[in-house]
C-alpha cells in the first residue's frame, strides 16, 4: 500500500511538472532562507556555550556616578579580580584580559597582529580554550610569554614546533622579546573572547599595581557555584561603598560593579563587548521572524496549489473510496505526499543553501560552513523543520481531499473545491508579509541613505587613516613634511583616535566650579593640524598652533604646563556660554590638564547617529594612535603608493596599513547595513515566492474557468475584458494585503527608528511605492495566464467540457 502511495505521488509530481516545479522549488527556496537564517540565529544563541564552566563564569562591568551622570563600561581597573578573589569566598578565581595590537617579528616575517590579548595565567583555569601544547599552569605565568593560536603558530612556524621560540613584539608600551610557551586552539567563532595571540598579563607594568581606576581591562570571575551569583551581586555595592576612600567616590558619587553571567553577555548585556561588538537580541527576533515568514509564504504556495489541484484529484479520491479506502487511509496518503515533496524540497534546500553560503556569509558578516548542518543536533533541527513543514502544508489539502463524497465527485458534480475563501485569505496573508518586507526594506535603506548623506560637520571623504604607535609619534613631523611633498596630500594630523567614534570619557570642570563637581564629556587628544584636516568649522576663537602643542605633553603620563582647549557647541552650552563667551574661559580636564578655551567648533557627529551630539573637548597632546591624511581625491592609487614608500623609509618597524575614514564611518552602522541588505534580499525572495504561488494558482483557476471564458467570448467579450475579469480578483486580494501590511510596517519601522536620535520620518510614498510594486508584479504574474486564456479559440475552450 505504501508503495502504491509513493508511486502515485511520484507519478503525480512527474506528470504535473509546472505544479511540481512551483511547489518543490518554492518550498526549497523558502527552506533555504529558513536554514540560513536559522544558522545565523543559532550561532548567535550559541555564544560561549562551549565554555564548560559557563554557568559559573561572570563578566564584571563597571558602573560609576559622577554628579548624577551615570556611566557604564565593560572594563575595570586592575584591582577588581585579585581583590574580589580575596574578599569574597564565593569567588574561586579571577582573570584580567586586555585586548591590544602589536607588530610581531620573527626572522624576516613581520605582521601587525590585531588580536593580541594580555591575560592572567588563570585564563586556562577559568575558560575552556584547549591548550594544545604547553602547561596550562605556567604558560602565561611569567612576563614576556606568548601562547599562539593554532593558525597563528602555523603562520609563523609552519609545521615546526614553536615552543621555546622567541619573537620580537613591538607593542605600544615598547619593544621586547617574548618566548612562546604554548599553542592554543583558535578562538571559536561563537566566543566573546577572540584572540590570535595570548600574552602574559604580568608583562604589563600595570600588573604590578592594583588600581580601581584606569579601567582598561576586561575582568571575568569564576564562582564556586552557579547559585553564588545572586548573593555576590547583592554584596558588591555595599563592599564598594566601604572602599569609597580608596576610590575617591564620596557623597552621591559611587563606583560599583555589575556581574553578568557569561552566556548572557553577547545578547543581553547593556554594555558593549570587549573583543567584538555584542549581538543584538532585536536582530535575532527580526531574522527569526523573517525566516518563519518566508517559510509560511512557501507553505501557503503548497497549500494553495494543492487545494486548487484537489479538483483534479477528486476523481481519484472518489474511486479509492468506492474501492473501500477509509478516510484515515486517504489522509495518510496525502500527508505522505506532502512529506515526500517537503523532503525533496529540503534536500534541494540544503543544496541551495550550501551554494548560497558564501553569499550569505558576506551578507551576514559571518563565517559559517556547510559542515555545521551535519552536526547531529542541527541535522535533527533540519529534519524537524521538514516534518513541521510537511504537516503544516499537508494537513489542509489532505482534509479537503479526504472530505470528498464519492457519489458527487464521480458524477462530476464537483467544480469548485469549496476552499475559495480560505485560499483567498492565504493569498492576502502572503502578500501582506511581502508588502511588510518591502516597506521595511525601503525604510531601512532610506535611513541608511540619510546617515550617509547627513552633514556630519566634518569631511569624511578622501581621508586616510593610518594606524600609528609611539615610534610613528616620534617621527610625525618628518612624516608630515615627506607626505606633503606630494601635491595630492592636503593635510596630515595625528590624533588619539578617529573622529568617527570618540570613546574617551573625561571629567571636565569650569575653574569656578567647586572642586568636587564635574561634567562628563568626550575628549580627543589631537595635534595642531586636526581641525584643518577634518574640515571642522570654528565658530569663535582660533585654531591650535605649534606653540600650543609645545606646551602640551609629548608622552603618555607627562604633565603639561598649560592647555589650549577646543570645545564643541554642545560643551559650551553645557557650561552656560555662547561660543563667543566661551573663548578665553578657564577650564580643566582632571588634575593634570588645566588651561583655557581657545576655540569653539560647530557640533559634529563624533558618535553614532543613535545618540545626540554630546559635549566634546579637543585638546593638544603629542601622542596618538592614528595619523589622518586628507587627500585631494585625484590619483588615489599613486598617492597611496607614494605614502607607503615614504612610510617604509621613515618607519621600517611598522607595516604600512591604511583605511579610509568613510569605511570606518560605515562600520558604525554595520549592523544596520547588514540588516538593510538582509531585508532587501529576503523581501525580494518573498515577493518572488508569493508570485510563484500566484502564477501557479492563476494557471489553475484560469484553467477551471476555460468554459466560462469560451462562453463569454462567443457572446462577444473582448480580450481586454477577459484579462480584467481574470486579474481583478487577485488584484483585489493584493490591495487588501497592502492595506493590512502598511500600518503594521509603519509601527514596526517607527519602533526601529526610535533607536536613532537622528532619523528620517517614514515618507508616505514608501507605502505607495511598495503598493505599486506589489500590485505591478502580481498583475504581471496573473496576466501571463489570463492573456493566454483570453486568446484561446472559444471552440477549443468549450470542447474541454
Amino acid at each position: 500500500m505504501i508503495k502504491n502511495y509513493f508511486r502515485i505521488a511520484f507519478r503525480n509530481l512527474w506528470r504535473n511538472k509546472t505544479f511540481s516545479f512551483i511547489t518543490v522549488f518554492g518550498l526549497a527556496v523558502g527552506l533555504t532562507c529558513c536554514l540560513l537564517l536559522f544558522m545565523y540565529v543559532s550561532h548567535e544563541l550559541s555564544y560561549d556555550n562551549f565554555q564548560q564552566k559557563a554557568d559559573r563564569i561572570v563578566r564584571v562591568t563597571m558602573e560609576y556616578s559622577l554628579d548624577g551622570n551615570v556611566g557604564k563600561a565593560p572594563v575595570t581597573g586592575t584591582k577588581v579580580a585579585p581583590e574580589f578573589v580575596r574578599a569574597f569566598p564565593e569567588v574561586e578565581a579571577g582573570v584580567r584580559l586586555m585586548n591590544s595590537s602589536a607588530i610581531v617579528r620573527h626572522g624576516d616575517q613581520r605582521f601587525n597582529e590585531k588580536r593580541v590579548v594580555y591575560a592572567d595565567s588563570s585564563l586556562f583555569r577559568v575558560f575552556s580554550f584547549g591548550l594544545l601544547k604547553g602547561n596550562p599552569q605556567t604558560a602565561l605565568a611569567g612576563p614576556n610569554q606568548l601562547v599562539l593560536s593554532k593558525s597563528t603558530a602555523r603562520k609563523y612556524f609552519g609545521t615546526e614546533d614553536p615552543l621555546g621560540k622567541v619573537v620580537r613584539v613591538d607593542a605600544r608600551r615598547g619593544e621586547s622579546d617574548y618566548t612562546i610557551t604554548g599553542v592554543v586552539e583558535d578562538a571559536p567563532l561563537n566566543s566573546q573572547i577572540k584572540y590570535d595571540i595570548l600574552a602574559s598579563f604580568s608583562t604589563l607594568d600595570v600588573s604590578k599595581r592594583e588600581e580601581w581606576w584606569s579601567a582598561n581591562y576586561a575582568t571575568y570571575l569564576l564562582l564556586r557555584t552557579p547559585e553564588a551569583l545572586a548573593g555576590l551581586k547583592a554584596k558588591v555595592p555595599g563592599y564598594m561603598k566601604s572602599k569609597s576612600a580608596e576610590t575617591e567616590m564620596v557623597g552621591n558619587n559611587y563606583l560599583s560593579y555589575n556581574l553578568e553571567p557569561l552566556r548572557r553577555v553577547h545578547l543581553h548585556s547593556e554594555v558593549e563587548g570587549n573583543f567584538e561588538p555584542n549581538g543584538d537580541l532585536l536582530y535575532i527576533y527580526i531574522f527569526g521572524s523573517i525566516a518563519v515568514l518566508i517559510l509560511i509564504i512557501a507553505c501557503v504556495n503548497y497549500v494553495n496549489l494543492a487545494t486548487t489541484r484537489a479538483v483534479e484529484r477528486a476523481q481519484e479520491v472518489g474511486v479509492r473510496k468506492v474501492m473501500g479506502a477509509l478516510p484515515t487511509q486517504l489522509f495518510g496518503q496525502f500527508i505522505g505526499e506532502s512529506i515526500i515533496i517537503t523532503f525533496i524540497a529540503l534536500l534541494l534546500g540544503l543544496l541551495l543553501s550550501s551554494l548560497a553560503l558564501p553569499l550569505f556569509n558576506q551578507l551576514s558578516d559571518r563565517q559559517f560552513s556547510f559542515n555545521q548542518w551535519l552536526e547531529p543536533a542541527n541535522l535533527l533541527v533540519v529534519v524537524g523543520i521538514g516534518v513541521v513543514v510537511s504537516l503544516i502544508a499537508g494537513i489542509y489539502p489532505a482534509l479537503v481531499l479526504t472530505r470528498y463524497q464519492p457519489v458527487r465527485v464521480l458524477k462530476g458534480h464537483l467544480k469548485t473545491t469549496g476552499a475559495g475563501n480560505f485560499r483567498r485569505t492565504l493569498i492576502v496573508f502572503q502578500f501582506a508579509i511581502t508588502a511588510f518586507l518591502i516597506i521595511s526594506t525601503f525604510v531601512v535603506q532610506n535611513q541608511l541613505k540619510y546617515i550617509q548623506n547627513k552633514k556630519l560637520g566634518y569631511d569624511k571623504e578622501h581621508v586616510v587613516i593610518l594606524p600609528a604607535d609611539r615610534q610613528v609619534g616620534e617621527k610625525i613631523q618628518a612624516l608630515k613634511s615627506e607626505f606633503k611633498q606630494n601635491s595630492s596630500v592636503q593635510q596630515v594630523s595625528m590624533a588619539y583616535e578617529s573622529p568617527v567614534f570618540v570613546k574617551g570619557g573625561y571629567a571636565m570642570r569650569r575653574s569656578d566650579m567647586p572642586e568636587d563637581q564635574y561634567k562628563m564629556v568626550a575628549g580627543l587628544p589631537v595635534d595642531e593640524d586636526f581641525v584643518k584636516t577634518m574640515g571642522l568649522r570654528i565658530l569663535a576663537g582660533s585654531d591650535l598652533t605649534r606653540q600650543d602643542m609645545q606646551l602640551a605633553p609629548v608622552m603618555f603620563g607627562d604633565t603639561a604646563n598649560y592647555y589650549h582647549f577646543i570645545i564643541n557647541e554642545a560643551a559650551a552650552k553645557e557650561l552656560g556660554w555662547t561660543p563667543q563667551q566661551a573663548v578665553g574661559q578657564k577650564i580643566d580636564m582632571g588634575q593634570n590638564r588645566k588651561g583655557e578655551v581657545k576655540a569653539v567648533v560647530e557640533n559634529f557627529h563624533f558618535a553614532s547617529m543613535r545618540d545626540k551630539i554630546g559635549p566634546l573637548v579637543i585638546f593638544p597632546e603629542g601622542y596618538g594612535n592614528v595619523v589622518l591624511v586628507k587627500l585631494s581625491g585625484s590619483q588615489l592609487t599613486n598617492t597611496l603608493q607614494f605614502m607607503e614608500n615614504k612610510w617604509n623609509t621613515l618607519i621600517p618597524s611598522r607595516p604600512f596599513e591604511y583605511e579610509f575614514l568613510d569605511q570606518e564611518f560605515n562600520k558604525l552602522y554595520a549592523t544596520e547595513t547588514r540588516t538593510g541588505r538582509i531585508f532587501s534580499v529576503f523581501a525580494f525572495l518573498s515577493i518572488f515566492l508569493a508570485c510563484l504561488g500566484l502564477f501557479g494558482l492563476s494557471a489553475y483557476t484560469t484553467a477551471l474557468r476555460t468554459k466560462e471564458i469560451g462562453i463569454r467570448k462567443v457572446l462577444g467579450a473582448s480580450i481586454g475584458s477577459i484579462v480584467a475579469l481574470l486579474s481583478q480578483e487577485f488584484l483585489k486580494l493584493v490591495l487588501i494585503a497592502i492595506v493590512i501590511a502598511s500600518p503594521l510596517a509603519w509601527y514596526a519601522m517607527d519602533r526601529w527608528l526610535q533607536d536613532f536620535t537622528y532619523r528620517i520620518d517614514i515618507p508616505w510614498w514608501t507605502f505607495l511605492v511598495a503598493g505599486v510594486l506589489a500590485v505591478g508584479v502580481a498583475l504581471l504574474t496573473v496576466s501571463i495566464q489570463s492573456i493566454k486564456a483570453a486568446l484561446m479559440n472559444p471552440v477549443k475552450s468549450l470542447k474541454t467540457e
Binding site: 506528470r15 476523481q315 472518489g318 473501500g324 478516510p327 457519489v407 464521480l410
Partner: protein, 225 residues
C-alpha cells in the same frame, strides 16, 4: 438478496427540495441481472448509489444480505462495500496515475490481500478480460473499450457477489459496447448479481428483468423469459 422497503431520497438545497426517490420497494435475488431504465432525472443513479452503499436513503429500509444498512455511517458502509460490491461506471473512473495492473490491484490493497494471492487474482482478472498484454499501460494509452474492460476487471477482482454498472456502454461505440455487455452476461452466468442502469433498450435486453423509473417511482417491471 437485496430488498428495499419504501425507500425515499430527498435532496435539499437552500431554496428547493427535490424528491429523487419516492417509495421504492424492490427485491433483487442472488444471481439476478436487473436493468434500471427511465428518462434523465428519474432517480436511476440515485437508486443505484443507494443500492451500492455509496449513499444513504432519507427514509425507508435497505436490507443488504440480511443487514439493514440504511442508517449506517460512511465508514461502516465502506467496510461492507469492499469485497461485496464491484462498480462499473460510464466514464470508467480509472486512476490516471496508475497502470492497468495497479488500477485492478487497488481493491485488493484495501482488502489487505497477501501479495502472492493478489498477483494471482489480478492476473486472472486481466486474463479473463483479455487485458494482460496491456497490464503496464496507463489509462490514457487505451481505447474506451479497453478502459472499460480494465474497469470491469477491477470490479470483479475481489469476486464480489454484486456488480453495479452505471451506463457501462454510455461512452463506447457499438462494437465495444457489445463486448462489454457480453462480459457482464458471462459474469452473471457465473453467479454474480448484476444491477445496471442504462438508457439503451438493447443493453437492457441482456437483463432478466427491467425496472422502469419515472419521477422517483417504479412505474413498470418487465421480466424476460
Amino acid at each position: 438478496m437485496l430488498r428495499t422497503t419504501n425507500l425515499q431520497k430527498v435532496f435539499t438545497t437552500e431554496e428547493v427540495e427535490t424528491t429523487a426517490l419516492n417509495g421504492i420497494d424492490m427485491e433483487i435475488k442472488d444471481g439476478e441481472f436487473v436493468a434500471i431504465m427511465g428518462p434523465s432525472g428519474c432517480g436511476k443513479s440515485t437508486l443505484l448509489n443507494i443500492l451500492g452503499l455509496l449513499d444513504n436513503p432519507s427514509e425507508g429500509v435497505y436490507d443488504f444480505y440480511g443487514t439493514d444498512v440504511s442508517k449506517m455511517s460512511e465508514r461502516q458502509r465502506a467496510q461492507i462495500r469492499k469485497g461485496n460490491i464491484g462498480f462499473v461506471f460510464q466514464s470508467f473512473n480509472l486512476i490516471d496515475e496508475l497502470t492497468v495492473y495497479e488500477n485492478v490491484e487497488l481493491p485488493l490493497l484495501y482488502l489487505k490481500t497477501p501479495p502472492n494471492e493478489r498477483k494471482d487474482r489480478v492476473e486472472a482478472a486481466l486474463t479473463r478480460m483479455n487485458m494482460m498484454h496491456r497490464r503496464n499501460h496507463f489509462p490514457q494509452q487505451l481505447s474506451g473499450g479497453q478502459q472499460q474492460r480494465t474497469a470491469i476487471a477491477r470490479a470483479v477482482v475481489a469476486t464480489p457477489k454484486t456488480i453495479l454498472a452505471d451506463e457501462p456502454t454510455g461512452n463506447l461505440d457499438s462494437k465495444n459496447g457489445e463486448e462489454v455487455m457480453n462480459l457482464l452476461r458471462q459474469l452473471n452466468e457465473g453467479g454474480t448479481t448484476i444491477i445496471m442502469v442504462t438508457h439503451s433498450p438493447y443493453d437492457a435486453g441482456f437483463a432478466h428483468r427491467i425496472v422502469n423509473l419515472f419521477d422517483g417511482k417504479i412505474v413498470t417491471e418487465k421480466v424476460h423469459v
